[in-house]
Symmetry: C2
Subunit: 191 residues, 2 copies
């Protein structure tokens, strides 16, 4: 199923591009550097993607698809909805563990004005996916009403993204943990 053309090489390009974009953004994603880390030449990237914009869109698309899949795994493996919410920040913590990177879509949201339209679309979808998951989990946990769920979900998402950004600025993953604890203490996330 799907097109399986050159899967291994295409996937490796997406892997490396994702990591670079998490540290340097769309503007800082350099096709020659990307190619070198993949182990091919820059021109060869055009065998797999028609342009940098398309490549970045594919990166962002796979990014939210993976995030969505990860959240569904979290849902299926964790019985208690409140427990799922407690584990939610852990998905953002992983980026910091990975060489102090941040969420691809946080970075690209900052760069929004300079993003090609197809990339913008995928970046927005990442937020939608997270907010939707948080909404249904908040409702399942009985923390908010269905009516208020979406706004609260957005608040949690924004706060966690902000915490990740701050922790990156100090290259201090313990700061991230401290911020999340504070959100819990303040009542934004369940204790």
């Amino acid at each position: 199923m799907d097109s399986q053309t050159g899967t291994s090489s295409r996937d490796k390009i997406l892997d490396v591009a994702t990591k670079i974009a998490q540290a340097h953004g769309y503007g800082g994603l350099n096709l020659r550097t990307l190619a070198e880390e993949v182990g091919i030449k820059a021109a060869s990237l055009y065998h797999h993607f028609p342009s940098k914009a398309d490549l970045a869109a594919a990166v962002a698309k796979r990014y939210w698809e993976d995030a969505a899949a990860g959240l569904e795994v979290l849902s299926s493996r964790t019985q208690d909805p409140a427990d799922r919410l407690r584990r939610f920040p852990g998905t953002f913590r992983k980026s910091l563990e990975n060489d102090n990177r941040i969420c691809l879509c946080s970075f690209m949201t900052a760069e929004f004005d300079d993003l090609p339209d197809p990339v913008k679309k995928e970046v927005e979808t990442f937020t939608d996916v997270n907010v939707a998951w948080l909404s249904k989990t908040l409702v399942a946990a009985g923390i908010v009403s269905t009516k208020d769920a979406k706004k609260r979900a957005h608040a949690i998402f924004a706060a966690v993204a902000g915490a990740q950004l701050m922790a990156r600025g100090r290259s201090d993953i313990k700061l991230f943990d401290a911020l999340i604890k504070n959100y819990q203490a303040a009542g934004l996330l369940p204790l």
Copy 2:
């Protein structure tokens, strides 16, 4: 006081550079575009600053100095410390009002790996200034103990920065307001 060399032109460069960097970051700050918006040629920028790195450092420095001054004004004009905290997000709201821009230092924190060291330093100071002000105001409001003030201050700062970023991604200032309201409802900020 200070060096007053060519004040008007130098200040105009800093003004315009700040606005550009708030929308496009350090990497997206282009000296030719900057010069054009100021009304001079790119080469003339070098009469005022020795390099792009120095220019950006000056921009970031003035940015946190202005922020610090603004917060002090807020302190002196608002009697009730809790009221000051309520008004704090308003300083971030202004960037969004100004053509959907974000905090210069949030953007640059994302770009941290690619920032020249002098710029990094000024960006960090911006956070310090905000956290220090929030700390003392939280204590004055009797919301947290002196011991916990700094961490809570950081949590508020991160959450507000995150809210600003999300609102930018949707070009929706009402989303920012909704997020802040949710922080208040959750107990992160005073009602």
